[in-house]
Every structure is written in structure tokens, then in C-alpha cells.
């Protein structure tokens, strides 16, 4: 079984993914700046399935074939500067970040010179590592509500067919979530705008879990 490191794995989105991957039987290593504190957090989860491990970020990357980046977007640069040399040649990174920031109740998308959070991360990864983006539009709150069905589509883009296939495998670990391949990594900018649209719908309609399904795709 592939070992999955989740950096930022104690956050809402990361912990939701960690618990749902473990419930599907995957080996999950939650990466954190502080492994001991992560261990304490994990102990509070009523997680089903495989036991979830904890490690410092770099040590988590060392043990993984697939690394999920689930830290807040604004800390991604510092994280990759710290762990960049630990990625194995040929390993896959899955970016789940979105460059959305809140000032009070006002949501804005950060201006990312590379065009998207995913391309920002690509520019900071070693060449031998493949990058895909996924899990950007599934609501973090819903993801963290372990028992609740997701019932939506999740958009996957990436460097190569292989990178997208690996990310799609993670998506398929979660029941009732369909992976929709949308092509090269540059498509991430559209996906990230979709997250902003979901947040706008949540605000406007006083709901929490707006998400999307593609109609017309068999």
C-alpha cells in the first residue's frame, strides 16, 4: 500500500483527508511542524480504519510515495524550502491548496504570479517530482465530517497522465467522490476560481457545503 504523507495534516482539510484515506485502509502519515503535537491531535480523532501516524514534515515526506500539501497557501513557500530535498525522485505531490484569503468576511483571491497555487508550488519543487492538483473544491468542513457523504465531483489536473492517475487514485479512495481529469497543471487556475465560487455561494445562501457535479460527463 502506498504511504501517503499529508503536510498540514492537522488542519481542517488535511485532517479530513487523513481520516478518510485511513478509513479506506491507506497508510497515512500526518506531517506537522511539531510531530509530538500532531500525535496528540491525532489521538483525539475517532478514526476508523488503519492507524494514522505522525511525523515532522520532512520525516513524513521521507516515508511517502505520495505527499499531499494541505498547509495554508501563504506558508507553502516556507514549507517547500524546508522539505524540498526530501522528495524522492519519481514521487508524486498532490496540491490541495487554494489562494483564497479572508479579511474579516471579505474573501479575495491572492494574486499568484505563476497563475495558480499549483503552478506556484510547481516552481518550488524539484524537477524529478511530479505534481498534480486535486481536492481543491470539496468543502473542508464536509471533508472533516467523517460520516457525511461527499456526492460530488473532484477536479484533477497535473504534470502528466501518471501524476493525474495517482491523484485520481486518492480521489477514488473516498466513496461517492468522482475524479474528473481536466488536463494540464495550468488548468488549476480554473479549479481554484471554482473554490472561490463555492465560498461565494455558501455566503450568499447561508449554507456550508456548496460543491459541484459535472453534468453531461458519462
Amino acid at each position: 500500500m502506498t504511504a501517503i504523507a499529508i503536510l498540514g495534516g492537522t488542519g481542517q482539510q488535511g485532517s479530513g483527508l487523513a481520516r478518510r484515506f485511513a478509513a479506506a485502509g491507506a497508510r497515512v502519515i500526518v506531517g506537522s511542524r511539531d510531530a509530538a503535537r500532531a500525535r496528540t491531535t491525532i489521538a483525539t480523532w475517532n478514526a476508523a480504519g488503519a492507524p494514522i501516524e505522525a511525523a515532522a514534515n520532512a520525516a513524513a515526506v521521507d516515508q511517502a510515495e505520495v505527499t499531499v500539501i494541505a498547509v495554508p497557501f501563504e506558508t507553502v513557500g516556507a514549507l517547500l524550502a524546508e522539505v524540498g530535498t526530501h522528495f524522492k525522485e519519481g514521487s508524486t505531490v498532490v496540491d490541495v491548496t487554494v489562494p483564497v484569503t479572508f479579511v474579516g468576511r471579505t474573501m479575495t483571491m491572492a494574486e499568484v504570479p505563476e497563475g495558480s497555487a499549483a503552478e506556484h508550488i510547481r516552481a518550488r519543487l524539484p524537477a524529478g517530482v511530479q505534481l498534480a492538483a486535486a481536492f481543491k473544491t470539496v468543502p473542508a468542513r464536509l471533508l472533516a465530517a467523517a460520516g457525511e457523504p461527499l456526492d460530488c465531483d473532484e477536479f484533477v489536473c497535473g504534470d502528466s497522465d501518471e501524476a493525474r492517475a495517482r491523484a485520481a487514485e486518492l480521489v477514488r479512495l473516498l466513496p461517492r467522490l468522482r475524479a474528473v481529469d481536466v488536463g494540464p497543471l495550468s488548468r488549476a487556475r480554473h479549479i481554484e476560481h471554482l473554490t472561490a465560487l463555492a465560498i461565494a455561494i455558501n455566503r450568499r445562501h447561508k449554507i456550508h457545503d456548496a460543491r459541484f457535479a459535472v453534468v453531461g460527463l458519462p
Copy 2:
């Protein structure tokens, strides 16, 4: 009954809207640079419902309470320079354009200094006219296939509750299409990226009518 002018009403998206609005019983005036040629085109449509009229763009605006802008994005500036003085104070404009361009098979989104096609249009409209955006994500081919059900959601944003309500009324003229209010006009940039995502999905999966439904919105 509100009179609806559709500028660019002989194009694929405009003609689909014209025929579907007329089928719902609305009074529709197709605006074109050449009214006579538009009349010839309309005569070839097997349109159900109310008869569809044709007029030069400015004359169409003169007769309408709601004007739909369905010309190619790159011609919007010239169109509004021509017809801008014809909008009635308090009338509503509905923008359906998307700043997507194709060079061969390669799709790119035009860099729009205002942030979106809708905001680009806002900057070129008289202050007394209200603007909303809608029909940006429903596929043009599907829209033009008069008998085919749409079965998706359509995102509406705009200057004010009133502008959004007027655009949502147009959406509701089309059976099996739900209007989803996503807030202020600045949200148009997210909607336009969604159109680009739909095109990317069509390309990748060799389909034609990818579109979206919001999950989690009662």
C-alpha cells in the same frame, strides 16, 4: 411582457437564447449589425412560440427593457461605443460573454484589466444602467439545440439585487435550468473560469456539453 434585445443574436449562443426565450413566450428582438441579414437568418429557424423580431443593434436596444450582450468578447468595446447612448435609464443589461479565445485548438483566457468580461462591460456602460451576468456556463451548442434539456445550474451575479433578479427571471424562462445567485458582479471572474473549465473537460473527455450543478444547495 418585457421585451428582450439580444445583441449578437444570430451567433450560436445568442440564437439559442433567442429561440428558447421566444419558446417561453417572451418578446425577443435579435440585434445585429445588419437587420436585413438577421431577418434572413431568423427565417431559417424553426422557432416555436412568439415570433422573433430583428433590428439593427441600436434599434433593438431602443425597444428593450432588458438587453443581452451575446457578441464575441473582443467586439464588446466597439458594440457598446455604438449603442451606449440607447440604453434606457433603469434598464438592465445581461452579459453572457466569456473572454476565452482559441488559437487553433489551444484555449486561453484573455487578460482582462478589469478582472472579468462583466467588469469590462460595466466600465463601458452608462451609470444609470444595471448590469448582471448570466448564461456564461451553459454550453452554446446545447443552448442552440432547441429541444435538448439543459438540466444544470446557471450562475448569476450583478450590480444589485434588482439586476440579479431580472437576470434570474431570464434564466427561469428556460425549463430545467436553475438560477444560482452568487452575489456581486466581481464574482463574474469565477464564473468565467468555470466556462474555461467546462471547455477543458469537453476537450479532455471528447464530449460537447459539460456543464455544472451545485450540490448542497437546496
